[in-house]
């Protein structure tokens, strides 16, 4: 009896999977035979593990946008006449532009896979970041620490999507590959770069008056 139930279950699961794969064909058949097509869409591009990764990618898009504006304001802080650090400004403006461009790239990716974007609801996951903005009026070394933490959060978010893509019940190698190709390597580079900067600057600042060290480090950042 148990065997029979298990068999029936497997058979019905198989039928479900088949139904998913033939969804488009079936809708066309139904629409054409009833001679009415009133819905907005008859087919979709959803396959593999899109159900599992879609909310994570949505969260990650919102994280990138949040960080993009945080970096923009950090750049602004170093562009004031009192700070006057064009090197730091350039660094953070670059990260802001990168996060904005990445948001657009992610929107294109999720819609390529039949997903949609939701800018208003914030799905809580490892791919999302706090919307509470930290105080950005900080000194140079502190700003590098903030940026390094940000970059790690974005790396964690990308890693989380990748993990979901390869470990959910329906796997999604296409999404995993996309995250590897476009984000994981790039985030590792950026984390490494900022950690290097923070350690360098901290060493240079081990003097009674660090103002010249910071000035020189800013000059160095301008040339990067």
């Amino acid at each position: 009896m148990k065997l029979l139930v298990a068999f029936a279950l497997i058979a019905s699961l198989g039928a479900l999977a088949q139904a998913e794969e033939e969804y488009c064909h079936n809708s066309v058949v139904t629409a054409c035979s009833s001679s009415t097509f009133s819905g907005n869409s008859i087919c979709n591009a959803r396959f593999a593990g899109i159900e599992h990764v879609e909310p994570e990618v949505q969260a990650y898009i919102n994280s990138q946008l949040t960080k993009s504006y945080e970096y923009l304001l950090l750049a602004t802080h170093f562009n004031s006449y009192q700070k006057n650090r064009p090197g730091f400004q350039k660094l953070y403006q670059g990260l802001s532009d990168r996060s904005f461009d990445d948001s657009i790239a992610l929107i294109k990716q999720i819609t390529k896979r039949g997903g949609i974007v939701d800018f208003n609801t914030r799905h809580e996951s490892a791919a999302s970041v706090s919307t509470q903005r930290p105080t950005l009026e900080v000194d140079e070394l502190h700003s590098l620490a903030l940026a390094l933490d940000n970059e790690k959060q974005l790396a964690t978010g990308a890693t989380h999507i990748h993990t979901r893509a390869i470990h959910a019940t329906e796997r999604d190698p296409e999404m995993a590959h996309y995250m590897e190709e476009e984000y994981l390597g790039k985030q590792a580079d950026s984390v490494r770069k900022l950690s290097g900067y923070a350690n360098d600057l901290a060493k240079l600042m081990k003097v009674p008056d660090p103002s010249l060290s910071i000035y020189l480090f800013d000059e160095y950042l301008q040339k990067q």
Binding site: T66, T111, G114, L136
Partner: protein, 206 residues
Amino acid sequence: MVKLIASLLVLAVVAQQAYGDFKCSLEVPEIPKGWMDLKDGCLNGMRHQIQEEINASYQYLAMAAYFARDTVNRQGFAENFFKAAKEEREHGSKLVEYLSMRGQLTDSVSNLITVPTVAKQEWKDGAAALEDALELETKVTRSIRKLIQTCEGKPYNHYHLVDYLTGVYLEEQLHGQRELAGKLVTLKKMMSTHGELGEFLFDKSL
């Protein structure tokens, strides 16, 4: 004994100098302030305008994301709206830079921009989105006009900013509005009897 204490004290002072407290923030030197002549009303208006531009950027991003969907598949519209979202963000960030140039934004930077939500994430068709886009641009234009009035007002005329807002921002707004209006009229004509086919063809021409 006294000598020992004295030498210990000296040593402590030297050590303090050599390995002193790790100092991270530098003092801000006093400089003349007369050159910073942006008045409160105009400054607040600018801060408001920056947020308006960012809001518009977000709304365009939502439009782009909608038309990029596989079930909607209007890639021409999507690309156009992605471009518009980038432009609006650029407008916002240029205004931020302007404030820095005028000696502002030495504090209250963290709350200059809040991450907005969007009023709408789905549209009936391309024409409805273009109509919303035109309304959005009109709203931004009105807001810039109001800002110009504030900054031009008595007793203090912000000549340079008013010139910048008029010559660069209004210039772009007015041309942008005309372009959107033209597109919208063409699309509506194409859709009046041919509906979806009109929209399909129009999208490919964008």
